[in-house]
């Protein structure tokens, strides 16, 4: 094991406000939540940072509760807490499905939704859910709070609109109408990065979001439009396969990803047809 961790320091904030002030005052201070991504990056030597802000004790970031028309999920909500939450299960079952697919139990107990969003891997399992649910990211800083639609949050591969002094406070999920659907095709049954991951909502205007097929999580507007316009699922599948631009890597090939995305679209459509029980 590397012992580099010993040269690192962890800054303990007294409150959320204190945390936000620290973020404002110290350039290069890296927020740390469950540390499941950061630890890997540190051990790998990919991360140069030495000072970290421990968000873990900030209780208000752990809240999951309905707030008026939206469901608020705090950035520190772990996968385990998402799985356990009655509100999430009722209003956003596809997020529960996604959470169950993340890593193994240990990572589910420690990894957070905010960390998944901020980390911004194109393979992040919750991201297609948030895109399909048209969630809003709530960002906080010492100067205030702002809201960014999730679909506008990423600018490119692992880059976001978040400023260096900002923290993700949580997400707001509006009421999702229609049947929700989620599927991860991984390289194995657990502890796997997806080859393709898809979340979708069967509504008059169906919404389809995919991970691992582009530099960021994507919605597929042309495919959605075709489905809205009454195209057959086969037609929509053809459109989908040209709408995404996956790559070859160690986990899969572009051709296989494209093919499987099409298969998943077909399964989504079949399994969410009226009269079918929700998975």
């Amino acid at each position: 094991m590397r012992t580099a961790i010993s040269r690192l320091s962890l800054v303990e904030p007294r409150s959320l406000r204190h945390a936000l002030r620290l973020m404002r005052d110290e350039a290069g201070l890296v927020p740390l939540a469950g540390c499941t991504d950061l630890y890997v990056a540190l051990n790998d030597g990919a991360l140069r940072a030495t000072r970290f802000l421990n968000l873990w004790p900030i209780e208000e970031l752990r809240v999951i509760e309905p707030r008026g028309p939206v469901l608020f999920i705090g950035a520190l909500a772990t996968y385990s807490s998402l799985i356990r939450s009655a509100d999430v299960r009722r209003r956003l079952p596809m997020l529960v499905s996604a959470a169950r697919e993340v890593g193994g139990r240990q990572v589910q107990n420690r990894g957070t939704l905010g960390g998944n969003i901020a980390n911004g891997s194109p393979a992040g399992d919750t991201l297609p859910v948030l895109a399909a649910a048209e969630a809003t990211v709530v960002l906080g800083s010492a100067t205030g709070t702002r809201r960014v639609p999730f679909t506008a949050f990423y600018k490119g591969y692992r880059t976001t609109v978040m400023r260096a002094d900002e923290l993700i406070l949580g997400i707001e999920v509006p009421e999702v109408e229609g049947r929700q659907w989620f599927c991860k095709v991984g390289t194995r049954g657990a502890q796997a990065i997806s080859k393709v991951v898809m979340a979708a909502v069967r509504a008059p205007h169906p919404r389809v979001a995919l991970g691992s097929v582009a530099p960021t999580v994507v919605r597929v507007p042309k495919t959605e439009a075709a489905l809205t316009g009454g195209a057959s699922v086969d037609e929509a599948r053809t459109i989908l396969m040209s709408e995404i631009a996956p790559i070859d890597d160690i986990r899969s090939t572009a051709a296989y990803r494209r093919h499987v995305a099409g298969v998943l679209l077909g399964r989504f459509w079949e399994q969410t047809a009226a009269g079918r029980p929700v998975y």
Partner: protein, 812 residues
């Protein structure tokens, strides 16, 4: 008593007390509670930490190495390079082509080039960055066929045969004539991709050089004895001043059966710095260290009569060896020599060539050398069955080799439970009502195999015992067993305890085992070729039977009875009636409780504790102890290479696998594996079942998930457990371990191996099950979704009459 004695298969005291029971492993609780001490748990005062600088090139000449800046870094104690450890070594005496750190040249990405000892790993890592190495890149051979076609520059200089690591050509009978006369001949190409062991414990070693000039190396090795020899050679220290110890070990599977760079490096650095030095490989380094299963390109031709009787097998195999020889000479033989059972065929020929490539060196992995050909052959046999419209289990029955016979290549077969294995899996899986009758997308496949139970050929030729043990009998009632055997998780220490307790009539807690310490233990060759239970077991029985008569006689004389009336049961010595009765009512496998009187005492019979018996014997015969040894009988065919693959006994396995295939995504799910394995006598059925399940699990993983490959620069494709995918619990199919016991006349109480054989059939059985499920033959491993889809497409196109496109080989 002697090393070649046959001890019989019967219980020493009438009925088995420990053997045949699901007993705990001796180290089970320590491992479960975290108390077990692994090599990395060792921390000595003043200990330094070492790290290795590795080659970024697949093939390059080293022009210069400048370590001056690294040496100046605070906390750094020493830097060594190839010039400090120039002596070559290698596990086989004929192919010593490795050095601990590269000398003059690097031959794969990740090859050790320099090593640093520093106060901690951070300082050592920082120092590595300051070492400047000038390389002159050379052409990198990444494909064995290219290696065979050209060798300028060669991977190893000064060899007569270019990049050929080993070539073996053996023929038995007239294969060409047999195939010409066969009613059907199936001919095809098969590819095994190459996998690695992925033991959970990474390699680790600690070196200590004492003021007395004794060098001690603790290492996570499965071959203490060969490491001992190699250290003496490379470090030029007399072997009697070197001590090698294997602490508790976290898995090996063949991946720790070579001497490795780190063992020499910590020793050298300890001698250089005067401080203890530890090196622990990162997971990434373990992937470069490799010695995993060889990729093989195999062409098989198999001929049979209309009735499905095999008449001849002809194999041509090209083996991708990676950069060094390791066990490659043996692998090249095993690839052909181990195929000649469990089926009989009258003619056989194989031609196998191992080529060097600029990749991490391959070596032995569970089922060394024979898992790949077994895959090819069992799939081919299945094709034969479907071509001839014979049930796949039936065709295997028609070709049974039988017991107490000789194979076409001259291997002696003793016990053979293969027919029973087939029956058992057929019955358990409801094969008759399900194979060929499940809905499209679901299918069942069968495969069989045979594997060595130890090998008669020591790695360096010598006439001394292959396994030896020593017993120390203590007045306290304790027997300490000293054995050079390496317990690598397979349970050899536990087996030693059970066998000695059985032989001497003791309770389990009266036997403790000290193992794999070259100062304390007699030589054992190590944990490879599935030899420990068979060979060490026989050596233990040998030792016990030398000392037992002394103790019995001391008691008999004390009681003034005939020795036949003295019986040891679980640590208590009782006087038997005349004629002897079964002793009754003594707790099985319990603790010896001196003072507690067994029920027999009430009946007026005399008794004493084992400790008292030992004291009587010690008073009479002096300090008690014994050595025991084992050597295989003379075995093997009378031709060059005929002893390679000759074993004192063979194990047999049959699998039935059930799969489902998702034809849209191309995913194969292995639903269930029925594993029937003939292990001779199951000394501990729970351990046998564990080996069977673990083997099947590993085979399934190699078929469906694992792949050890490099990219076009020779860089490992994914040196992490994220990208090198071993199955998690949720990926693991249901496993049914069905033990078959064909008591072997020469195994300890009839036992044979169980740790490697049960892996073999898993892989071909999956391919055969996929054929049953969706009608495609998968011949190129691993069976990725992309390949399944391509094969399905090709099948559809063929059915529609359009030419089939080539398989998308790179599809994952």
């Amino acid at each position: 008593m002697a090393s070649r004695d046959i001890h019989g298969i019967d219980a020493p005291w009438g009925a088995f007390r420990h053997v045949g029971r699901d007993l705990r492993k001796v180290d089970g609780l320590a491992k479960a509670t975290g108390a077990a001490m692994y090599t990395d748990d060792i921390a000595l005062p003043g200990m330094l930490h070492a790290k290795t600088l590795r080659s970024p090139h697949a093939h390059a000449r080293i022009r210069s190495i400048d370590a001056a800046d690294a040496l100046r870094l605070a906390g750094v104690h020493a830097v060594i390079t190839g010039e400090h450890l120039p002596v070559t070594y290698g596990i086989l005496p004929w192919t010593q082509d490795e050095t601990a750190l590269a000398v003059g040249k690097v031959r794969f990405v990740g090859e050790p080039v320099a090593a640093v000892a520093a106060v901690d790993e951070d300082a050592a890592n920082a120092a590595l960055k300051l070492i400047r190495v000038e390389y002159e890149p050379l052409h990198a051979y990444l494909d064995p066929f290219e290696s065979l076609a050209r060798h300028d520059p060669p991977i190893h200089e000064g060899r007569k045969d270019g990049n050929v690591s080993k070539h073996v050509h053996l023929a038995f009978g007239d294969v060409d004539a047999a195939l010409a006369e066969a009613d059907v001949v199936i001919e095809d190409d098969y590819v095994f991709h190459g996998t690695t062991h992925a033991a959970i414990e990474p390699h680790c070693a600690v070196g200590h050089y004492g003021a007395d000039g004794v060098l001690t190396v603790w290492s996570s090795t499965q071959i203490t004895h060969y490491v001992h020899r190699a250290l003496a050679r490379v470090l030029d220290v007399p072997a009697h001043r070197i001590r090698v110890i294997q602490p508790c070990l976290g898995g090996a599977f063949g991946g720790k059966s070579d001497p490795f760079s780190l063992e020499f490096v910590v020793a050298k650095l300890a001698m250089t710095t005067g401080r203890p030095v530890k090196m622990l490989y990162t997971r990434e380094e373990v992937f470069y260290t490799h010695r995993g299963r060889h990729p093989m390109h195999m062409r098989y031709r198999t001929g049979a009569t209309r009735e499905g009787r095999l008449v001849g097998v002809d194999a041509t195999i090209v083996i991708d060896g990676g950069a060094y020889s390791s066990y490659g000479l043996v692998t090249t033989y095993y690839a052909g020599q181990l195929l000649t059972g469990p089926y009989a065929f009258a003619t056989y020929r194989f031609d196998s060539t191992r080529a060097f490539t600029n990749k991490p060196p391959c070596g032995p992995k569970r089922g060394h050398g024979s898992v790949q050909p077994r895959f090819a052959f069992e799939v081919q046999l299945d094709e034969l069955a479907s071509t001839l419209e014979i049930d796949p289990i039936e065709i295997r029955r028609r070709n049974l080799l039988g017991e107490h016979t000789t194979t076409v290549n001259g291997q002696r077969i003793t016990s053979n439970g293969f027919a029973r294995c087939l029956d058992v899996v057929e019955h358990a899986s409801n094969w008759k009502t399900r194979h060929g009758q499940l809905p499209f997308g679901r299918g069942m496949g069968v495969a069989g195999s045979m594997y060595i139970s130890g090998t008669n050929y020591p790695i360096y030729p010598n006439p001394m015992p292959q396994a030896a043990v020593q017993l120390k009998i203590d007045r306290s009632g304790l027997v300490t067993v000293f054995t050079g055997a390496n317990d690598i998780g397979q349970g050899s220490n536990s087996i030693a305890q059970y066998l000695v307790a059985e032989e001497l009539g003791l309770a389990l807690d009266q036997v403790r085992v000290v193992s794999a310490d070259t100062d304390l233990c007699p030589v054992d060759l190590g944990a490879y070729s599935s030899r420990e239970t068979f060979m060490v077991g026989n050596a233990l029985i040998d030792a016990c039977r030398k000392v037992r008569p002394l103790v019995v006689r001391a008691v008999a004389d004390h009681w003034q009875v005939d020795p036949s009336r003295v019986r040891f049961v679980d640590g208590v010595v009782v006087e038997l009636d005349d004629p002897p009765l079964q002793p009754a009512g003594v707790a099985v496998g319990g603790e010896a409780r001196p003072g507690a009187s067994p029920p027999d005492a009430a009946a007026g019979r005399r008794w004493m504790t084992a400790a008292e018996a030992f004291q009587l014997a010690e008073a009479r015969f002096d300090t008690l102890g014994a050595t025991g040894a084992y050597n295989t009988p003379t075995l093997g065919g009378d031709y060059r290479g005929g002893t390679i693959g000759a074993a004192p006994a063979y194990s047999f396995t049959a699998h039935v696998v059930e799969v489902s295939v998702d034809v849209e995504t191309g995913r194969i799910t292995c639903e269930k594996v029925w594993i029937a394995h003939d292990c001779g006598r199951a000394l501990n059925p729970m351990l046998v079942a564990g080996q069977m399940e673990g083997s099947a699990y590993m085979g399934v993983a190699e078929a469906l998930m694992e792949a050890h490959g490099v990219n076009r620069f020779g860089l490992h494709a994914g040196p992490s457990l994220l990208d090198y995918r071993i199955p998690t619990t949720v990926d693991t199919p249901e496993l049914a371990a069905l033990i078959v016991e064909s008591l072997d006349p020469e195994g300890p109480y009839g036992a044979k191996e169980a740790g490697e054989g049960p892996l073999h059939p898993a892989i071909p059985a999956i391919s055969n099950a996929v054929f049953d499920a969706v009608g495609i033959r998968l011949k190129h491993l691993p069976f990725t979704p992309g390949k399944v889809l391509a094969a399905l497409r090709a099948r559809k196109d063929a059915a529609a009459g359009t030419p089939a496109p080539a398989l998308a080989g790179g599809a994952r």
